[in-house]
């Protein structure tokens, strides 16, 4: 289909501000009379605050006041494991206990040093298996796990823990726990029986947790004016986050103005208000002091409360029939919930296996256990991306054992349109994984390169890897608003957060597409909630492109329908007799009879009522959108839309091929070549998609080779609070060039055919990389991510591979 805008590059309106430094992030704002808040954070991993004596600090010159957990939670702290604004019951080092505001930060820091806070030490734990053991310490005062019923305690016998540590399953009677503790699909026994003449792999695995480390620390500034809260913050999701932040601060939705023109990196943890409640501190302090309050967050604080991935310790058994079909997968994962948060990463890992490889039988069991380590939660492909690098080398071992090519075994096990997946057997809206595999292999020249496989050159050896990634990539049921004034310009109101994907702009172009308007005649209205923006789903889970092209297109089509009604009423005929082109609505039979968009907008404003949002709004609009619409009503010609909910799963898939050269003396490797291809429906914005593919690639390299979360086992102190210790990939860890491509076949459930991609782009690269490392080492399966240089050297030397001190807080260290 020939589109005006979809599939074409454009210059998003915020790029100029980014390259000139003019665009403002929360910490760039200042305000007359502003004071500065600093945090007192927990110095120990698990404690209870017994007493706070602030008398000396409050008497110091320049100190304006403190804010404590008792003040922000007068009815007691929430009974959940989620991050709190402030707490008297810290469960990790660095958790905010109180905030103190002063005339400047030096004074605030000096006053904090004068506080007398008494803590009662409580037992702490860093490895989930230590907590699982009978009699082992619990990370929370009231248990070590959290599920839909609340806090609980999960314990295994000493023998069960020992069995799991030894790399074998803990036994069928080992208790499970967590948000989704277990599921089963198909006949597992029959699946393994079918694999008896094929290939069966069984082994243990680990994946490390590691922090988001978004480049912008989550600083925030707040002030109150005329009963309204103005909050300059950071967020992946503009209206979705503000909608919930109002509840956290305790202010009516219509009285919160959340201002967020740009966010310095969001990879899951800035999507929802409950994972960034620290923004409520300056808001509540400003209310208390009746002054603007700036709270800057340091890199160390960002590490602690900025969120991290759940680490896995697992056991997996996979069976392949002689024809290469993955007939059974049995999975037991112990996942690390950290000291706050948690998640269902293990469930997502199993769900991913059933969708990505269309496995005939899957049994999944999970013990989700808290530790007194950093806050855990959503992080780029939570679960799907941890399991991708574990499965890929197993697929290769199966291919080698069955005499198949490594490409063919993936084609045999790939998702296609009409397939279902997950425990609910949810249909995919469309899927073209075989096409993605073949296209990537062709672009990489995969077959021809097979002759280079395991080629030696001195100490160096070549490894080839192919990997796949998956994440659900679209939601529905959200709202859209477009407005047109008497000048005929289209104003697209977007509640999508500006997290760096440009999806707020790319999805807006679906409205321009529906109205067949030149982009130059359109403005995106966003950046602050008093611009009256519709609600949308948070910008997480790779959903934005799918979700918001639906809402923008729908709102624009509402405008088109209203244009036709107005034209028919004024010029004769029925609305169906009219079409749109070149910014006019005109009769199909006589294109000379019509009205310009400016004229029809002018007429709509004269007519009022439903044409200007003063009547007949769509049923089921979200409350937030109703408020926005009521404030826009009567100001211009309005198109407004509530998107119906769909039940099918729009998937995002990626495939990556890579070639590495591994040095057998140092254990280091260079990535010589890499091609990543997205299978995400029709491409909306090629440069934006390319950025997601290469950005995900860098994250995949971090997951499979570098990133880590270190804690001192004696005191529970974090040792990887900075970029350097946590090993975020640099330019030099990534290839000189990453080639990106896309399949570009439309999805039927989206008006412009699009699906999302952000998360799987990491999974396929991490999978390709572990496959390539395994390939270079004659097919050795490490069962780990990351595979560090130490592990590679130890393997080559024939010594213990698990001798990686502190690397993952689990049985490898």
């Amino acid at each position: 289909m020939a589109y005006m805008h979809i599939g074409k590059d454009f210059v998003p309106p915020d790029v100029a501000g980014k390259v000139t430094g003019r665009i403002k992030y929360a910490e760039d704002y200042t305000r007359e009379g502003m004071v500065y808040a600093r945090l007192l954070t927990s110095p120990i991993p698990h404690a209870r605050v017994v007493n706070i004596d602030a008398s000396e600090a409050l008497a110091m010159e320049g100190v304006h006041g403190i804010l404590t957990a008792d003040e922000v939670y007068p009815d007691g702290e929430p009974q959940s494991t989620g991050l709190k604004i402030l707490t008297n019951e810290p469960t990790l080092v660095g958790e905010p206990i109180l905030a103190l505001a002063a005339v400047d930060e030096k004074t605030a820091e000096t006053a904090i040093a004068a506080l007398n806070v008494t803590f009662e030490r409580l037992p702490f734990v860093l490895d989930p298996l230590d907590s699982l053991r009978e009699g082992g310490p619990n990370a929370y005062a009231n248990g070590n796990t959290f599920n839909r019923e609340g806090y609980g305690e999960v314990k295994w016998t000493t023998d069960q823990v020992a069995s799991f540590r030894a790399g074998t399953p803990p036994g069928d009677d080992a208790p499970t726990s967590g948000l989704v503790p277990a599921f089963a699909i198909g006949d597992l026994e029959a699946g393994f029986a079918a694999a008896a003449d094929g290939f069966i792999y069984e082994g243990s695995f680990t994946t490390a947790g590691y922090p988001h480390h978004s480049m912008e620390p989550r600083s925030a500034m707040a002030y109150w004016e005329d009963g309204k809260l103005y909050l300059h913050g950071t967020s992946q999701s503009l209206t979705a986050l503000a909608n919930d932040m109002a509840g956290i601060v305790g202010v009516a939705k219509e009285d919160l103005v959340f201002i967020n023109a740009a966010t310095g990196g969001g990879f899951g943890q800035r999507a929802r208000a409950n994972s960034i409640p620290s923004m409520a501190i300056p808001a509540k302090m400003a209310q208390k002091l009746n002054r603007p309050v700036m709270m800057r967050i340091t890199r160390e604080e960002e590490f602690t409360i900025g969120g991290a991935r759940q680490g896995f310790q697992g056991w997996i058994k996979v069976g392949f029939r002689p024809d290469g079909v993955m007939s059974a997968c049995d999975l037991f994962i112990v996942s690390d919930d950290g000291g706050k948060g948690g998640g269902a990463d293990a469930y997502s890992a199993a769900d991913c296996i059933s969708i990505l490889y269309q496995t005939e039988a899957v049994r999944y069991r999970n013990a989700s256990v808290a530790t007194n380590t950093a806050h855990r939660g959503a992080q780029r492909g939570p679960g799907q991306n941890q399991i991708a690098p574990i499965i890929a080398p197993i697929m290769d071992a199966a291919a080698d054992a069955l005499g198949m090519s490594r490409l063919d075994i993936r084609v045999v096990n790939s998702a296609q349109t009409g397939d279902v997946g997950g425990p609910q057997r949810t249909p995919l809206t469309s899927a073209y994984m075989p096409e993605a595999l073949r296209q990537t292999a062709e672009a990489f020249d995969w077959e021809a390169r097979q002759s280079r496989r395991r080629q030696r050159n001195g100490n160096k050896v070549i490894g080839l890897g192919i990997g796949q990634g998956y994440h659900a990539a679209g939601r529905s049921g959200q709202d859209g608003i477009v407005m047109m004034g008497a000048d005929g310009r289209l104003k697209i109101h977007s509640g999508v957060g500006n997290l760096g994907t440009y999806s707020y702009a790319a999805t807006s172009r679906a409205a321009a597409e529906a109205l067949r308007m030149p982009w130059e005649s359109c403005d995106i209205i966003t950046g602050r909630t008093d611009n009256h923006l519709p609600i949308t789903s948070p910008q997480d889970g790779s959903n934005s492109i799918f979700t918001n092209t639906r809402t923008c297109y729908g709102a624009a089509m509402d405008l088109v329908a209203k244009m036709k009604e107005i034209a028919a009423a004024d010029l004769g005929g029925e609305p169906a007799d009219y079409d749109i082109s070149e910014e006019r609505v005109h009769q199909i039979a006589d294109s000379g009879t019509g009205m310009t968009y400016a004229e029809v907008a002018q007429r709509a404003m004269e007519l009022g009522g439903k044409y200007t949002g003063e009547a007949e709004l769509p049923e089921d609009l979200h409350e937030w959108t109703q408020i926005a619409a009521s404030r826009l009503a009567g100001t211009a010609f309005m198109g407004i839309y509530h998107d119906p909910v769909i039940s099918n799963n729009p998937p995002g898939f990626t495939v990556t091929c890579t070639e590495i050269e591994l040095d057998l003396e140092t254990g280091k490797f260079d990535i010589l070549d890499m091609v990543s291809v997205g299978e995400c429906g029709t491409v909306v914005h090629p440069q934006g998609l390319k950025n997601q593919l290469v950005g995900g690639a860098v994250w995949g390299i971090g997951l499979s080779a570098l990133e880590r979360h270190l804690y001192d086992p004696q005191n529970g102190l974090p040792a990887s609070t900075g970029y350097w210790q946590s090993k975020v990939p640099t330019y030099l860890d990534t290839p000189v060039k990453i080639d990106a491509g896309w399949v570009d076949l439309p999805d039927p459930e989206n008006p412009v055919g699009a699906r999302g991609i952000g998360e799987p782009s990491q999974g396929s690269v991490s999978a390709a990389l572990t496959a390539a490392i395994s390939d270079a080492l004659d097919g050795h399966i490490f069962g780990a991510a990351p595979i560090t240089t130490d592990m590679i050297i130890n393997h080559i030397a024939g010594t213990r591979e698990d001798a990686v001190a502190l690397a993952q807080n689990n049985f490898r260290g």
Binding site: Y25, M215, G266, L732, V736
Partner: protein, 197 residues
């Protein structure tokens, strides 16, 4: 291989910090940022700084970092703080053409230096510097928080090596992290800037 700018080393500013007796701890910036109270015995000094071609007079505390002065005294918030501990490069500015982590040098050591920030690159008529233009055309930034630092590191590199290979750009920018992982797109942008001249 043609050498990358030999002056682009961490050593230079680490040495600078040591010579100035600074502590590159996280909170030292916040102390310095205030300028309203200072350690007992410290001497307040009005400094004349050459920033983006203009002489600016500013009250600088003894332990104040250049990033603090630029952001909080001179309002040049294009210079970002990602780590405030010399790890990320978000604060990169040019001092006498050399990319420098502004969070890790003291403003008092800059008084004879020619400081350039991202705000100083545009021509008076609004024309973008070729690196900025290259970054726009290649859509190099994602979230944009590391972008001013990437821009300044690239400008510094191109001043000593106007025709670098992609590999040389990769090495030249290696002190600038991008958590969004937009390295490939930044490299595309710098190579485009080379074409634009």
């Amino acid at each position: 291989m043609q050498p990358v700018n030999p002056q682009l080393t961490r050593r230079r500013f680490i040495k600078g910090v040591i010579a100035s007796g600074a502590v590159a701890g996280t909170t030292s910036l916040w102390y310095a940022a205030s300028g309203q109270s200072r350690p007992a015995g410290a001497v307040e000094r009005m400094l004349r700084l050459n920033v983006n071609g203009q002489e600016r007079t500013v009250d600088v505390a003894p332990q104040e970092t250049l990033a603090s002065t630029l952001r909080y005294k001179l309002g040049l918030t294009g210079t970002k703080l990602g780590c405030n501990r010399g790890e990320c490069g978000a604060c990169t500015v040019l001092v006498d053409d050399i990319p420098t982590y502004a969070c890790s040098v003291l403003t008092h050591s800059m008084k004879d230096g020619r400081i350039e920030t991202v705000e100083g690159l545009e021509a008076p008529d609004g024309t973008l510097h070729p690196v900025q233009q290259g970054f726009v055309e290649a859509l190099s930034p994602q979230c944009g928080y590391c972008t001013p630092g990437q821009v300044m590191a690239a400008v510094g590199l191109l001043r000593v090596n106007p025709n670098p290979t992609r590999e040389q750009v990769r090495e030249g920018l290696a002190g600038n992290l991008c958590r969004c992982g937009s390295y490939d797109s930044y490299l595309d942008g710098v190579m485009r800037a080379v074409e634009l001249g």
